[in-house]
Point group: C2
Chain length 889, copies 2
């Protein structure tokens, strides 16, 4: 069989200040191997050893055998290691022992295997005992080795070994393993070997070389364990990457009370504070820390026990930080007072710590402002901005729905909006649980801590309203059944009732039973400093999707530079407005419709005035009425009867109107500019409200920049007809008010046909705002509200990588967006381009927006900081100066 890596060395040695590898070779040597090589070169005390390249992993898994070239190179490396350490592998008098560890390019913590003390057998253990003058230590090492070998190489369960140790401890009254008498440990080794032979039918290998090959094979095989495969799937790590194998001369933390082992961060990963942080265990080997068999002590105790070692560890932390220019997560072992570093890697950190560390490292001249910005993962920001479930809490999962609006909340189940309001007034924390919500539920959503719906998608009423209010929401939880009669909610097989506590995580979509401690969001000086740097970097503006003055203020507070989408219809869902809106809808002719519209005019004008004020000096994009009219009509009989009474209209007439407005596919029906074309009096009223409000604010010296947006345009003619109405009303109002307010007139690109004919549309439209929610629905032929029945299956089985409603589908929808940008600019060079779909708050999608040179992104108020950061990172990535792929928590 051919060896695909014939030209590349397979084994890389390190030791005595020299190494074949370096940190640049992370892909080949894995994170651990590269770190060991780099530390060696840096003069950090690292036990010598060598690394088998990760490229060999796939070869081994394919062939189920090692290529002869590896055997030769490994033997050579082993000889070098023997020379460096002055010991011999299998040498009874002076045995060389090694650890064998996995290590992939991407950290997969706890996913793969480790074997320590390899090289011990019935002969060499005596040599180790003699050399160390500590037979208990030597036999303890041997006992551990046989156990690990049994578990890792022979794939036996841990339990029989643990039971035998437990038995021995009880028999000898020993508190810790290391307190057992030597004879007992010797007996354990024998019983371990018997256990291996019995369970596996094979003998424990006494020959060190046989031990070594078995361990290397086991490490490679561990790449394909179920849990490793699952982990890679979840974290999007390619299966072909493979793991490297690190073979390192043993140093011993279990040589007595001046020995030990531990893990330390160069800065506090939770708060970001610049002090050493970690844990330490006296007289122990690494797996004691990992297994939880003994409870480690805080790293500060090391300062008291071995102050010199502590100082050296601090010094090494600083050295490694300076070298790698980031926080380090270090594993170390102290052998009889001497410190060895066994591994160093980039330290994971909390959201809060990420900001502080980045800012302080800029202060220390360790990194640039750009690097600081590039290093903050958007998820860190999310942690900062929303209440989170305390990671320490034990949780009882009920179900998972769509993560419709981020943040977490606990509350008691309520089933109606009125009940929600009532109980909230009494000071109770409630979560509104509905099959789906409608405009009538609005006051209940205001009162509730969070919203859970059984139906509806990411753009359902519940989801949109909750996001607007920054309230957690889980939508479309398919196996939730709400029964208002019995006042119960079923979650699959489990039944909860009105008043029961639940906790909901709108960032993940998971719903838990019971009440849970939440961590409150907090913004500190580091947040503001770093966001200011981000703002300096990004060329793309960040706007907010805001339908109300409150949203507009919230957006400004989060740093929005204008409104990218003001959905006028959401202004109609409230009390009097809804009634006037319904009057307009059921009107039989134009005069009746205009009468109802006249009632809406002052309300809309008032809203626009307040919004313009909140956004003074910034552009405000107002979308004319978009949804199908039936969305505004009552859904049940009681409401319908009420409406007939309120409007003084016969019930039959209303029923006929509702019937006539029914659509098979409302998503593709009479909505958007189609409404404005059939009923030109609607855009006329809306335009009047916009320009009258703009004039009022401008008359008081306010800077108003309205951008009027025609929705759901499929052809330039639709745009032309609607813009004529808007321009005409604008001129009328300007004449009446003796005042002119500059404004733009543009369209939403949310249909494939608009994208395909963008050159024609841009001849007349001054801006495009990409409505990527609808564009995704039409391009994919995928109704977001209905996708719950197959989209999860699609993602699970890998038919699609990501929910295209979360992250823009670049290959399909993105191709259309790019085409529209290019075509649009071909006929209007200064065309203003933005995005206002949900994707405007998604970092990966924002990166795409940067590549097509959009002028701005727009998102819900609570996503604005995420968008500001992501836009800056996208700009840095586009410049190619800073690699933002490093940004993970």
């Amino acid at each position: 069989m051919s060896d695909p890596y014939a030209q590349q060395p397979l084994v890389y040695s390190f030791g005595q200040g020299r190494a074949d590898g370096s940190s640049a070779m992370k892909e080949l040597l894995g994170g651990k191997g590269a770190g060991l090589a780099e530390m060696t070169t840096l003069g950090i005390p690292v036990p010598p050893g060598f690394t088998i390249a990760s490229t060999l992993c796939q070869t081994y898994l394919d062939l189920n055998a090692f290529p002869p070239r590896l055997t030769r190179q490994l033997e050579a490396a082993l000889q070098r290691l023997e020379a460096t350490t002055g010991r011999g592998f299998g040498n009874v008098a002076n045995p060389l022992l090694v650890s064998v560890r996995s290590g992939a390019a991407v950290s997969m913590p706890g996913m793969m295997e480790t074997i320590l003390n390899l090289g011990l057998n019935d002969q060499t253990v005596e040599g180790l005992a003699a050399l160390s003058g500590n037979p208990a230590f030597a036999w303890d090492c041997y006992r551990r080795f046989v156990q690990m070998y049994g578990v890792v190489v022979f794939e036996l369960p841990r339990t029989p070994f643990d039971l035998l140790v437990e038995e021995a401890r009880v028999a000898h009254g020993a508190a810790r393993d290391i307190d057992l008498p030597v004879a007992a440990i010797k007996a354990l080794v024998a019983r371990f070997k018997a256990t291996i032979a019995e369970h596996s039918g094979r003998a424990f290998p006494e020959a060190p070389m046989e031990q070594l090959w078995g361990a290397v094979a086991a490490v490679f095989q561990s790449w394909n364990t179920r849990r490793a495969i699952d982990y890679r799937r979840i974290h999007d790590i390619p299966d072909t990457m493979g793991t490297a194998v690190n073979i390192v001369a043993m140093v011993y933390g279990n040589l007595g009370e001046t020995s030990g082992t531990g893990v330390a961060f160069s800065r506090n990963p939770s708060t970001g504070e610049a002090t050493l942080y970690g844990e330490f265990l006296c007289n122990a080997q690494g797996e004691d820390v990992v297994s939880g068999a003994r409870t480690p002590q805080p790293i500060e105790t090391l300062r008291d026990v071995m102050p010199g070692v502590y100082q050296e560890l601090e010094r090494m932390g600083r050295t490694l930080e300076r070298h790698f220019r980031d926080v380090q997560d270090m594993e170390f072992t102290i052998e009889e007072g001497r410190l060895y570093m066994l591994q160093t890697r980039r330290g994971q950190r909390s959201g809060q710590a990420a900001f502080r560390i980045a800012c302080e490292m800029v202060g220390e001249d360790l990194i640039s402002e750009e690097e600081a910005v590039a290093r903050i993962p958007p998820s860190a920001l999310e942690q900062l901005l929303h209440p989170m479930i305390d990671p320490g809490e034990a949780l009882d999962r009920l179900t998972t729905g769509l993560p419709a609006s981020p943040g977490a909340a606990s509350g008691q189940i309520v089933l109606t909006a009125d009940d929600a309001e009532l109980r909230a007034r009494r000071g109770e924390a409630v979560i509104l649980v509905r099959r789906e919500t409608s405009p009538e539920d609005f006051h209940g959503m205001v009162a509730a801590k969070a919203v859970l719906t059984a139906r509806g998608g990411m753009t359902s009423h519940a989801a949109v309203v909750a996001r607007g209010m920054g309230k957690p929401c889980v939508a479309g939880a398919q196996d939730v059944t709400v029964d208002e009669h019995t006042q119960t909610v079923r979650f699959g097989d489990r039944e909860l009732k009105l008043g029961d506590w639940i906790t909901l995580d709108g960032s993940t979509g998971v719903v838990y039973a019971g009440q849970t401690r939440l961590l409150a969001p907090q913004l500190d000086q580091y947040y503001y400093t770093l966001m200011a740097w981000a703002d300096k970097i990004r060329p793309m503006k960040v706007r907010v999707n805001a339908d109300t003055p409150a949203d507009a203020h919230r957006g400004r507070d989060h740093g929005a530079e204008g409104i990218g989408l003001c959905r006028t219809e959401h202004m109609f869902f409230d009390g009097d407005r809804l009634l006037a809106m319904r009057e307009m809808i059921v009107a039989e002719d134009r005069p009746a419709r205009e009468k109802a519209l006249a009632k809406l005019l002052p309300m809309q004008r008032g809203d626009f005035e307040a919004i313009f004020r909140a956004m003074e000096g910034y552009p405000v994009t107002i979308r004319l009425l978009d949804p199908p009219l039936h969305e505004f009509l009552p859904k049940d009989e009681t409401e319908l009867v009420q409406l007939a009474e309120d409007l003084g209209r016969p019930l039959e007439h209303l029923r006929a109107v509702i019937e006539s407005l029914h659509e098979s596919n409302p998503m593709l029906g009479l909505r958007g500019c189609r409404l404005g074309i059939v009923y030109p009096e609607i855009p006329a009223m809306q335009a009047r409200a916009i320009f009258e409000a703009a004039c009022t604010v401008a008359a008081r010296k306010g800077r108003v920049m309205p951008e009027v947006m025609i929705p759901l345009v499929a052809s330039v003619v639709e745009f032309r007809r609607q813009s004529l109405i808007v321009r005409q009303v604008a001129e009328e109002v300007f004449r009446e008010r003796q005042l002119t307010v500059p404004y733009l007139l543009g369209t939403m690109i949310e249909l494939p046909r608009a994208a395909l004919t963008a050159d024609e549309i841009a001849r007349e439209a001054q801006f495009f705002s990409f409505g990527t929610n609808d564009l995704t629905q039409t391009t994919y032929g995928l109704s977001r509200d209905d996708s719950g029945r197959f989209l999860p299956h699609y993602i699970e089985t890998g038919i699609i990588d990501q929910d295209p409603f979360q992250t823009l589908d670049i290959a399909g929808v993105g191709k259309l967006v790019k085409m529209a940008c290019d075509l649009g600019r071909s006929t209007r060079a200064d065309l203003k381009l933005g995005i206002c779909g949900e994707h405007g708050g998604d970092p990966a999608s924002i990166a795409f927006c940067e590549t097509v040179r959009m002028n701005y992104v727009s998102c819900s108020p609570f996503r604005v900081p995420v968008a500001r950061l992501a836009a800056a990172q996208a700009a840095l990535a586009a410049r190619g100066t800073v690699d933002r792929t490093k940004a993970t928590v």
Copy 2:
């Protein structure tokens, strides 16, 4: 003001065998002017004159004045005309009289104005009387001229003039105008002038030049009358085209019994027979024929009255036919035994005549086979293929819906399928009128002559099934209300009841009250000859959309070369199948689903066998299950109860299933390959049915060419997963049957994303079939079923030119189709490309398919001949050798 045509002559003279213009200058001179010029050059006796170019029309309408250049050129032309005729314009002794007529490049019959005898006034009329020796004639001319001038130039109504003539006739006991005594005519002229002065406040102009300019202005203005604008809108004629003005020396058909005027076709426009055909009126001017004041005689009478003139007319007809290479529609005048041609143009003809004429002209070596094919308009074919409402019938229009399936039918209203079957069995002709149809109505549709629905679009159940059966259908007639209780049907304000007769034209969508005579379709030798020529020309194959063996046979009868779309779901809508299908849908788990599928397997296999047999030697594209499952479930409670009984399942369970299958936008929901991915056992069963049937037919030496089509693919991964299932089943079946049948595996391109990623999909798919119905819906974001509320308004107000579901939207959807073709061929050079949406039967769309080099088009059985012809014409147009824009009826 600038004159945009400063360099171009404005006036073109003709006469004495020489002409400034020719038939090539139709655009500039209009059809009439170009014809007169060409005839003059040909030596045909044409009265001399000149033409004012049509380009001046827009200039005049913009300026409301004539440019000075025109005055100079017109005066020069008039002098030439005086010289040619030897008469003087306004010369009392020897007056030159002229006709002034409009004439655009495109014929707009009766839309614009004509004035005869211009140049007469109180002096010149005496000259004409003296010259002709016939004062009655002279004064008759003058009387007509004043009347026409009053109507055309002064825009007065005809009525007062007609009343005055009537009065005079009664007073003098004259049967015809021309029988009035001279004094009476003189009196009429005076009273006409008084009428003009009274109604318009202006005097009738006595000066011939003033008369002429007034007439020219009136002709130009007639371009913008309401009816002319409407006509252009309907016939898609650009407003900027303008009309030319023809000023021609008068010849007189009203000089006595050896004079006359008439219209003749060089061949019979109704049957196509190669004999002169037309009408003739003795001693009359042209407007007598047009106005219907006198009833003309058949042209044969001319043979008896003036045999020499008749022979000359025949000869001229042949000459003009040879010259223009098409049937001529000629206007002529006989002045005292001398024949003059006043106009010639291409003769309109019936569908039947079109075929005969084209075939016979090939026989006469007048045109080539290619030209013959290019000349048949697809509408001529439609006339031949479907029963038509006799154009002579007076009709009482009830309403208009969508023209869902062509052809006409008369029948009595029935409201239920059972009633339809019952009455049809009794031999009654019935039309099934339903709010909408569902699978349960199928037997009623089979029994009915035609179907009318109040709801649903061009792809509704009623429409699809009716087209499949070749039965007329009008769908989605919005103002139809069906009331089964009172057994009445309301059409807007009118109410009809069960058993009342209606007539329905599925080609236009119009519904009429009462019974009407229909013309039966007939196919003759000319049809077969011409279609055979068409088949030789076209590179694109024509397939049929056929779901049943009957459809397949029908397709073959009409010349289909395979099946382009076999919708397997339509096989499930019948009796037992529907029950098994429903059992499958309500199944709780895979085993239960597979049990139900096992019942469907033999039924599908049987259908496929019969279809393969019907299409032996031709490819058959079978689309796997496509529609959302809820389409198969009962729509009302009674049926639901019945189903619960039939299946022995609790009613509640069925209700829950129906509830769970509800979708907000089923068009964009769980359908197409998404079904096959969620329930892989469905495509597995279907594939088994296909390959077992194929093997059975192949085993008996039949040539089977199945092409399995995966529907609604948005990404290559979906295609890959589904094709794996199909391939695996195919291999299983081939192994079981010890036989291999070659097959193709491809996909329907019906989502924008599929088109955008067609390069990736073509790496794995062997063919694409464009499902342009759904592609139009998603590209436009337009649900066909819901578009009835605004699409008609869009077309009426010119927002879109044509219904995009009828004719492919080339700028938008076509751009995607072209992109998909190009991308697809870029990764698979031999990719097979076809279209199977409704557009596959639409000539304009077929022409587009030719430009992107599709391999075939596919359409419903009764559209196959249309597609064959259109494909041939598209090929000719693409070659550029034959201009098919001529093809109109």
